[in-house]
Symmetry: C2
Amino acid sequence: MRYTVIFQPSGKKAYTDGQHSILQISQEAGVPIESLCGGKGICGKCRVVVENGNEKLPPPTEREIKTLGELINRGYRLACETIPACNIILRVPEESRIDRQVILTTAKCVSAKLDPVIKNIYIEVPQPTLDNPMADSERLLTALKGDHGFHNILIDSMVIRKLPHIIREYNGRVTVTIWDNREILDIASGINDNLYGIAFDIGTTTIVAYLMDLLKGKELSVKAAMNPQVAYGDNVVSRISYCAENPDGLEKLRSALLRCMNTLIEEVCEDAGIKPKQVLESTVVGNTVMHHIFLGLDPQYIALAPYCPVIQSPMQIKARDVYLEISPSAYVHILPVKAGFVGGDTVGVIIATEPHRRDHITLVIDLGTNGEIVLGNRNRLLCCSTAAGPAFEGGHIKWGMRATSGAVESVRVDPETLNVELKTIDNRPPLGICGSGLISAVSELKRADVIMKKGNFNPEISSPRLREGQDGPEFVLAWAKETGIRSDLVITQQDVAELQLAKAAIHAGITILMRRMGLTSIDRILLAGAFGTYINPEDACVIGLIPDCLSANIESVGNAAGAGSCLALLNKNKWKEAERIAQKMDYVELSADPEFNELFVEGMFFKSRHTQVSTPEE
Amino acid sequence: MRYTVIFQPSGKKAYTDGQHSILQISQEAGVPIESLCGGKGICGKCRVVVENGNEKLPPPTEREIKTLGELINRGYRLACETIPACNIILRVPEESRIDRQVILTTAKCVSAKLDPVIKNIYIEVPQPTLDNPMADSERLLTALKGDHGFHNILIDSMVIRKLPHIIREYNGRVTVTIWDNREILDIASGINDNLYGIAFDIGTTTIVAYLMDLLKGKELSVKAAMNPQVAYGDNVVSRISYCAENPDGLEKLRSALLRCMNTLIEEVCEDAGIKPKQVLESTVVGNTVMHHIFLGLDPQYIALAPYCPVIQSPMQIKARDVYLEISPSAYVHILPVKAGFVGGDTVGVIIATEPHRRDHITLVIDLGTNGEIVLGNRNRLLCCSTAAGPAFEGGHIKWGMRATSGAVESVRVDPETLNVELKTIDNRPPLGICGSGLISAVSELKRADVIMKKGNFNPEISSPRLREGQDGPEFVLAWAKETGIRSDLVITQQDVAELQLAKAAIHAGITILMRRMGLTSIDRILLAGAFGTYINPEDACVIGLIPDCLSANIESVGNAAGAGSCLALLNKNKWKEAERIAQKMDYVELSADPEFNELFVEGMFFKSRHTQVSTPEE
């Protein structure tokens, strides 16, 4: 006899001869159902709901009754215990699906199939006997081979140390965490359904850590901190100089970075109520200089022509070898870098925004201390890097701050009265201004003619808000009594100049890439960066960050580099994709482009709206 | 045209069309000739001597003249530079041969082909350009692939840190040290012809380190030290108890061991004038308890039935992960253990003495704190372990000492006068007595009837040498004025009893293995151990260490466990051999044998000579 089994929600149809469990049928049919214990009726992970045909199934087994309890009345069964000899329709509930799509809250429009490089496997290891006193490790590996078909598995040396106790705690019942079907990174007694990873985005100014539950595909905690290396220089070139000029410079920068990362690890773990040693996988993206310092590699040749890094390829490295205080057995996956000034963060931005998978042309701009620009489609990607300065992340701005609670993220200025409306993160009284707030403010002041073409404040305007401050002319966004800082919140002439430098660099970079590709228009523009919630595309056009805003669909996608790091953590296939991107993409060295200087100067101005890419106004 | 090339001393014949270098012809013909630079005429390693046909060869190239100088007049040529279009006879001198046989001074009768797991490769890495700013690592790997055909090579993360400076020092000319054709463990600028490894033998009482030159196959320095763990118990069972009873017991024992090993590393390196960081490979043998403590593995289950270890298989582990202070990138190869009480030291003894390669039956006895016994031939090997106590290594003996300068290593006692003749190591005035000296002394005292059947001193003998001492009866081997210790050198009744316990255990073990194999005679008996220079086989028979001395060819082979460790260092193929031995050999658990106790008691007596194996005298 042949019976039909239909799996919902995919609608996949399979046939059975009445001799196989639902789990076996699903595996045959390619319908992925979670099963930690490998079909032994122990873990209770392979729950399915019978939507049609329940009455014709054999009654629930003792194991099902014990594991499912109440749920049985609602049609739940264990796929590994139920052998259907009838036509049935099943639903695989969200929690039993292996190929769940995960939506990242970190960045817009990004999702990934959950398929991390580590997984948990439950096994029962036989006890040794006088006749066969096989060692603990060998019994474990033999059981893993027999039950799950794993061959040539290594055990991390730190894990072997835990083995004799864990293996005896519940008579050989253990859960091992296996990395890449190759190496055991952890062992726990009994059933263990915890699986955690941390994704890092190491920026020149800001470091972000994302703690993810790799079984559920959920973000558990996100914490950010100022990169403590800012004490040694506020951009990558000054950090390189520090390394080159001080014998212990590299080590100082590396250990400052590691202290910060380890503190973030503690914070996200405390937030989620887990221990750092439970974190068994990590991914890292960072620009090439941060990448090098993290790895203890001298970055000095990055600053010298031909600007070549020490290593470009992706790396797998033990957490203990880079002093990251998660499980010492864990691997850290370091995404590849492209060039001296286009790093793993840009590769992360690409895997999170996927310009390489589309036919139409995408322009991605990652606004950080360095502004990395990627242009292209599935046929070709070009990239370059410009020194944008820390303005977008709140650095060098009088009241600049990171995009956290209390930061001004958008501004409205009444062109008549010059009255100001501020929107802050969490709607708290303003404490400072983040990247998107700065862009919004300057854009509004431009619209209200408070800021003029060259960036100077309009001397003809008379308003108590426009005044001479300690550092020269300044515009008051909020009076002391409206703020949380007991001081007037202002934008200074110097702040505007910082933003002008940044936008000019971006402008020049975009223009050169477009010319290299022979393009005059772009289908889609993505603004990425940890600059705040989201930049208003209008504002980005007004200040001239983007050459020609009208021809494209502009979208602000948030911290895509961080999202890329998370995606690589959630799905190991992103590693190969990242490696291919880094190899295939062409790098443009702006410093070698004869047009760069001219375009940079041109980009300093605030233009009238609706002008074309490369037609400077004067 | 076809020309004949004959390589001496092998006499191998090859043919050439006049288009290929001698190096290419030798590679084709399977005649291994050293070539560090891969045939670039740079390293000067591939020297050959033309014995016949020199006048028909093209004249030496500039490179040959520069590299060989004087030697050219003596017929030397570089194999990579010389293209013969004539019949010639060449000699490959010792220094150019890759497959040199190495004779170990450590133990008798052992030699190995020199084929270590690490090797040096000279390469020239192209400089980066603005058009192709490929990273340092990737340029290195590309060159290694192009010049030497190495694919998928990893670079240890510590080595990557040295890369940017080394690669620029001599314009990309570097020598890399590659482990197992898989991973770069070191990089040096220019040509580097240093290659060092250290073999360890970790005994319960003594630790020995052997520094070897892995290019020349030479022993550079050997140093031994007392295992500092003796402070925590003098045998493996008391060490296990210490670990089980003290929460930090394992860590204390491990760190004491490591301090000692690291001191030995410093000593052998200083002796040879090299730095510990230049040591790029290490091998370790040890009994299972030492093996576990070295690796930080809890040994407590070894002492509990069914006596199973935490891990048996051989391991490759980074030196930095076991805190061994050689190059942090180096691997430590840990030989496999067989069972809880038959460790990697016994496996080392077997690869050094090779009973598994012979048709006739060999009995190998490794005399240490544990006495491990191996019996068999190429068809079958049996092994067991007995607690022999530290007597063979000088422990628990009143004037016992390690086999170093000044130790009594053999004794003659005149049966008439009881005058004593001593032979000491280095012929210095005696400072104490080592294992072989103790066996010799007891054997002579037995011959002279000073020691009686039950081990007690003969009360009927009247001599100033036989007297009542502080610890009971004792026999004076040397008077204070003859010694270097300002005290009479004596053997006490207790010393004799220690030896009796040891020999009884060995006796019982041998007898049980012989019965299991159904043997009544043995073709060859090998005595291994760090007990001194060499035990006199006669003496071993007289004291009854060996059940039936007459039927076998007895040989004393020295520290074969240490030799096994050295062989594994010199030739990577010994690893697989060791693994196969450990898997194939059968382990006999003596504690589970009903005959053990009876045989042990029987073995306590000193028998008349020429008695049979299992016929106790009374």
